[in-house]
Amino acid sequence: MAHSVRRDAPELPDFSLLKRLARDQLIYLLEQLPGRKDLFIEADLMSPLDRIANVITLKQHDVDKLYKVEYKPIVSTSDQLCFLIRPRIKTVKWICDVVNTDKAFGRFRRYKIIFSPQKFYACENLLEEQGIFGDVTTDEWSFYLLPLDDDIISLELPEFFRDNFLEGDQRWVRTAGSALHLLHSVYGPFSKVYGIGRCSKMAYESWREQVEEGEQRARQAEIGNVFLIDRDVDLVTPLCSQVVYEGLVDDIFRIKCGCVEFGPDVTSSDKSIKVMLNSQDKVFNEIRNEHFSQVFGFLSQKARNLQTAYDKRSGMDIKQMKTFVSEELKGLKQEHRLLSLHIGASESMMKKKTKQDFQELLKTEHSLLEGFEIRECISYIEEHINRQVSMVESMRLLCLLSLTENGLLPKDYRSLKAQFLQSYGIDHLLTFSNLKQLGLLVEQQPGETLTVMESRVGKLVNDKTAGKLTDAFSSLSKKSNFRALGRRLNLVPKSDEEYDLRVPRDMAYIFSGAYIPLSCKLIEQVLERDGWTGLEEVTRMLNGHEFAVTGSNGSDARVKTDSQRIILVMFLGGCTFSEISALRFLGREKGLKFIVVTTAITNSARLLESMLDNHA
């Protein structure tokens, strides 16, 4: 609302084409099993499927009944069963059980498994091992990309983060490469590709390979540059509390596949309402990127405007009234409905978030980011654990502490962990093991205190030797180097100045002016410098794996066509709504348009829950 939109911002490409492609392929696949059939859908494919083809479409193509995959014996009476699943061992195993049960009862059915977005050899292997490879037909529904909004595309693969970064299982990398390939073949060719992170590099290579295998067509590019980034390059940002409206809604109500369910406390009625949150919702579109403190004011202003629009009626004659009713009233009513919903949501969030606790929580977070009053922060976290405030929240603070401080002191590490275990159960021992492996929560190695020294010394001595030193140290272990990065990239603005959230001056506004997200800052810097030159020390601290490749038609990048100013950012391992808001802000400032492709929308809770290994 307060932002001045640069008028020359380019138009975004039309991504609904991706949906059409996916739908057509699905229908084709369903028709491969002619006749009436029951369809079993993997639980986490249901919402994405809903975006692509609704129940009516499915029924039109001979789908009789729809079931959710629940890993239980089935009750279907149909002679043909179709399974629409992710390529997971567990699900395939369940299907094997279903088929083998049928066999034991002498029941003959036809089975078809549609893997989305691709099948894995492991799955086929399992079918073979279970002796049903000949009984089922398998297919792939290459539904890689789900456009959640005009500028957000999701792969809807939340397990990407854990599989890839924790388990070292790279099976999804190729999927990411294929997704990129799809975008390239529909909206490319890209002029330049930048990236950072091991996984990004592999995804890039996988994509290049697919490009080389396939045929190439010359076409008008709709997307200019591409930036690939691994989630583990920046783990701090997703662990911060989100305070931008869309992010906050996600943190509190959990947006699922672009859709949120508002409970009775928001709707002020006795039932919940599901609402699509995207740019179609005019009210939401205007507040999604705003800092939460600004939202209420905006909403009340909006309510007043709406009232004025309604009030116009009073002075109208019949004719005017007629046009009003036919043209404006519907829009006003719609807007009214949405407005009341968002006001309800804001109120509900206010109740939760303006409390003392939340303010203190934010204060602690900001202190951690600034590296200020760390002891107080630790005792705050301790108290958090002792009082058994939400487990995930405690873990989040612990991880933030470790990430920003380059690990915990051994004494703190032990005592906090012991308290955590006592408080939330011993089974989190495994969770801690995971967190350690990923570098989210680690102990400071005795030698590592040196790096703190070194970075201080480095400033005094000339930069070159410092560079060499860092080089030697960064190979030691996985560590975040957050402080040094913060200084170099100016991520944490000086706290003594007042930050006017109404007129954001940089991307830090998404965290109340306390922190510019590292991921977005990297993107900004690389785009500005047209590569990684000058960022050598930064990439060293981020463990390298950066690249910048000029594509087939990027030779004449000086001609800034519209498509050149459309940047596709691909987050491997998920991104948060806050980061998307920050990129939108950056886009407005620089006259660019960002398209965010992510393996899934994430936030602190989702990220940490994926790390849990307790028995639940």
Binding site: I89, K90, K93, F120, Y121, A122, N125, L126, D163, E167, G168, D169, Q170, R171, V173, R174, G177, M202, E205, S206, E209, E212, E213, E382, E383, I385, N386, R387, Q388, R414, K417, A418, Q419, L421, Q422, S423, Y424, G425, I426, D427, L429, L430, S433, D613, N614, H615
Partner: protein, 835 residues
């Protein structure tokens, strides 16, 4: 040009011509006498199996393979069993059907490829006769055994033997038989005396040809046309019956007046033929019979063999190779004496033009007046295609080109493509190549197949030239030929690996769509593993490298290639392969060096084979992971004893991993579990499995203060936490008395504000007030506010002279009710600010 018609013979409406294709390059002492001969259609190769001069046990028959022009391609003594029949497959492979039913397959150069058998039953009964036939399904073999039973294999590349039903009354071999392909089914038509039967998969049906003259008492020969549409029968009365192969129509019947059974009988037709005709061969006589009663007779001066073609019959003799065919109508129109067809006039016009005679104009005018110039050009172009002599072709094409000049919008394609086709045809008809294809055959067989045939003959340069000349897409053309060349090259045993690999990479370097893995596979088949590996290095797609590497048992290399490719499916393929191939220890060692594969396998084990996972960790001495493994296993265990023992294992592993923290935590968990069990047994509480905190909470709310106290000490629960716990537990129970006691027991490590807050939370302001006084001065304001005591808060804030706190209190005051307070606070604030 009258001489062109010199070799034309009229038969009814049509003419037949016999043209010489080659003078045979072979030198056969006795011609084709005493030889088993097989010549493949479409100008294919010729195989001869020459019986030894004097039948003796030591002398071996000689197998020889020649091109159509008689150039020797292979020759070797036959060392296997007696051969009944020779035949060629569609891929130019030679089939030798032995008496015992074994079929041996050789390539064009006499290299043995493989063999198969026509069934066990045949071994006993022997093959009496055999036939090789071609159908849309490929090349097939049919035999009849000594037991008078027929066996069919429709496609030798996908061998399925079908034994046909018995034929009633048949003894020994039938008098004649043929294989028919009708309605997508392969059948056998046979004659036993005068009776005709059709044998299909399930039944034997007697049939009668409509209108077969009654004089005949036996059918002695039969022929099925190239397209399986027509059938000809020759009876012992010397009658030739022609009709459709489905026995619905009769075309004609001719009395040949020769009663001896013919040696060979073949159809001589062409697409759009004017009349059906059959060529019958006896020892010294060749006879063409058609619809009319007349026949054409040629005398044969040597032993010959007829080869049926799509558009005629080739006659291969000891010294000559000829083509007998019906003269195509385009040629007839142009060359028939005194023809006034447009093409003939145009040819005449062009001839006059060459002579610079003005008659050219007259002829042209004549054609133009009838406005048939287009037709004339078309005729000339078409006729050129049917002519074998390049000179005649040229004359016709020049005439066509000449005529074209007078046409404004005649499409150039037919002319251009005919020129191209003829250039290709003439080059393959060359004596050294020896593929006498006609234009009709060439169109039917397609360029692709022609290239294949050239490749089979190892005529790579010519094949590549043709591909380039015809601008065949690389993938189907040049690259394909090069691949074949390379596959052949790797079989050259005498050359060292290095030079072959180099030669291959140099030649194939820039060609598109080359699959090096196929070439490598061939090299491996020839036992040249090292060469195969070298060649695989050139393969850009790892997906193609890996399966072959596995086949060659280079599993380590396969694994690293798979990992390089980044395709986890591929890695997984190798891993499963290795798992089955190697012993466990080696397998684990291999994985250990490949972290990507290892994590992939771990993922798999997590879902599928928990125990293997354990072994894996054991192998690596990864005690940390082993500990985690036991902890995880303990969740799933219902029985406490088993659970404890699992946890004990975990403790041991953690100790080995020097992870004291985890070891201690696990030990504590065990202690807790035991404690919980004891309490559950004693007091009937359901505590088992709760966390320490939950246990404490449960104990406190159930008034087991002593036990809680014990846990608190045993587990060294931090004071702060214990206080928080007890406080909330007491408040939840509304046990205010106990709480007061607790507060007074000693100085609270968490201060007293929590007391206030907890009470307020339970809506007990009365109790809350009791603790306000105990709160430290810094938190006083908060405490007062918590119980809603504004005045107290104001008091405290003013006392502390803290501007911030005063503001906090101010914000809570409402201007209507607390006016006095407001004023006081404002005043205090201004004084505080002054300081």
């Amino acid at each position: 040009m009258a001489f062109i018609t010199a070799n034309w013979n009229p038969l009814g409406e049509a003419f037949y011509r016999k043209i010489e294709l080659y003078e045979m390059g072979w030198s056969l002492r006795d011609g084709l006498k005493e030889c088993l001969v097989a010549a493949a259609p479409y100008g294919g190769p010729i195989a001869l199996l020459r019986q030894p001069q004097r039948p003796s046990s030591s002398a071996r028959p000689q197998l020889e393979i020649y091109s159509s022009s008689g150039v020797n391609m292979a020759s070797f003594p036959w060392k296997s069993g007696p051969v009944r029949q020779l035949g060629w497959t569609v891929c130019d492979d030679l089939l030798c059907i032995q008496e015992d039913g074994t079929v041996l397959i050789y390539d064009l150069f006499g290299a043995f490829k493989r063999h198969f058998s026509m069934g066990n039953e045949v071994v006993q009964n022997q093959v009496l006769e055999a036939k090789v036939f071609h159908s849309p399904y490929g090349t097939g073999v049919a035999i009849v055994t000594g037991a008078s039973r027929f066996t069919l294999a429709t496609n030798i590349d996908d061998l399925k033997l079908r034994r046909l039903p018995e034929v009633p009354g048949l003894q020994g071999a039938p008098s004649c038989w043929a294989v028919l392909t009708q309605d997508r089914q392969t059948k056998v038509l046979l004659a036993n005396g005068a009776d005709l039967y059709i044998l299909d998969n399930t039944s034997c049906t007697p049939v009668t040809p409509p209108g077969l003259s009654p004089q005949a008492c036996s059918i002695v020969n039969m022929a099925v046309s190239f397209s399986y549409k027509y059938l000809a029968l020759f009876t012992d009365s010397g009658h030739l019956w022609m009709g459709s192969a489905n026995f619905k129509d009769k075309l004609s019947e001719v009395d040949t007046k020769v009663r001896t059974p013919p040696k060979q009988m073949v159809w001589c037709r062409r697409p759009k033929s004017q009349q059906p005709s059959v060529v019958i061969m006896w020892d010294r006589l060749l006879l063409v019979a058609g619809e009319c009663t007349d026949t054409i007779q040629y005398t044969l001066d040597e032993e010959s063999v007829c080869v049926a073609e799509l558009d005629g019959v080739r006659i291969v003799g000891g010294s000559r190779h000829e083509l007998l065919q019906e003269v195509p109508s385009a040629c007839q129109d142009i060359f028939k004496i005194a023809s006034m067809a447009p093409g003939a006039l145009l040819l005449e016009a062009h001839k006059e033009y060459e002579k610079s005679s003005q008659k050219a104009d007259e002829y042209l005018r004549e054609i133009k007046e009838q406005s048939v110039l287009g037709e004339a050009v078309r005729q000339c172009v078409e006729a050129a295609g049917y002519e074998h002599e390049p000179e005649t072709q040229k004359t016709l094409l020049r005439a066509a080109s000449f005529g074209k000049c007078f046409l404004s919008n005649y499409p150039p394609e037919p002319f251009v493509s005919m020129c191209r086709d003829l250039k290709v045809l003439n080059s393959v008809r060359d004596y050294t190549v020896g593929i006498p294809l006609t234009h009709t055959q060439y169109k039917q067989m397609t360029v692709q197949v022609l290239i294949d045939r050239l490749v089979y003959r190892k005529l790579y340069p010519l094949a590549i030239e043709i591909c380039r000349y015809l601008k065949t897409p690389e993938y189907q053309g040049v690259s394909r030929v090069l691949k074949h060349w390379a596959c052949c090259k790797v079989q050259q045993k005498e050359e060292p690996d290095e030079s072959i690999a180099h030669a291959v990479s140099v030649k194939l370097g820039e060609a598109a769509g080359i699959s090096y893995s196929e070439i490598a596979a061939r090299a491996y088949e020839c036992g040249r593993t090292e060469l195969a590996i070298k060649l695989l290095e050139f393969e850009p797609r790892s997906g193609e490298q890996v399966p072959l590497l596995l086949k060659m048992k280079r599993s380590q290399l396969a694994l690293s290639k798979a990992i390089e490719s980044g395709d986890t499916d591929l890695v997984y393929t190798v891993v499963t392969y290795l798992k089955n191939e190697m012993n466990r220890g080696d397998f684990f060692m291999t994985l250990r060096n490949q972290p990507v594969a290892l994590s992939l396998y771990r993922q798999f084990c997590k879902h599928q084979e928990q125990d293997t996972l354990k072994d894996l960790f054991n192998q690596d001495d990864d005690h940390q992971e082993l500990g985690n493994f036991y902890v995880k296993a303990s969740y799933k265990e219902k029985k406490l004893e088993a659970r404890l023992s699992l946890l004990q294992s975990a403790v041991d592993e953690y100790n080995k991993a020097r992870n004291e923290f985890a070891a201690k935590a696990t030990e504590e968990e065990m202690k807790l579990l035991r404690f919980q069990r004891r309490l559950d047994e004693e007091k009937g509480e359901a505590l088992l499995g709760l966390s320490l905190q939950e246990t404490l909470h449960a104990l406190l709310t159930s008034n087991f203060h002593k036990q809680a106290e014990q846990l608190y000490r045993d587990f060294r629960v931090p004071d702060k936490r214990y206080w928080w716990l007890k406080l909330t537990a007491l408040a939840e129970k509304d046990d205010w008395e106990e709480m007061e006691k607790f507060a007074k027991s000693k100085k609270s490590p968490i201060g007293y504000l929590p007391f206030v807050e907890v009470c307020v939370k339970q809506h007990n302001k009365y109790e809350a007030k009791k603790y306000v006084s105990k709160v430290t001065p810094e938190q006083k304001v908060k405490a007062h506010l918590a119980i809603g005591d504004l005045e107290g808060a104001a008091e405290a804030a003013i006392e502390r002279r803290s501007e911030g706190e005063i503001s906090t209190v101010l914000s809570r005051c409402s201007p209507t009710t607390d006016r006095a307070l407001l004023e006081r606070l404002n005043r205090a604030r201004s004084t505080a600010a002054k300081k």
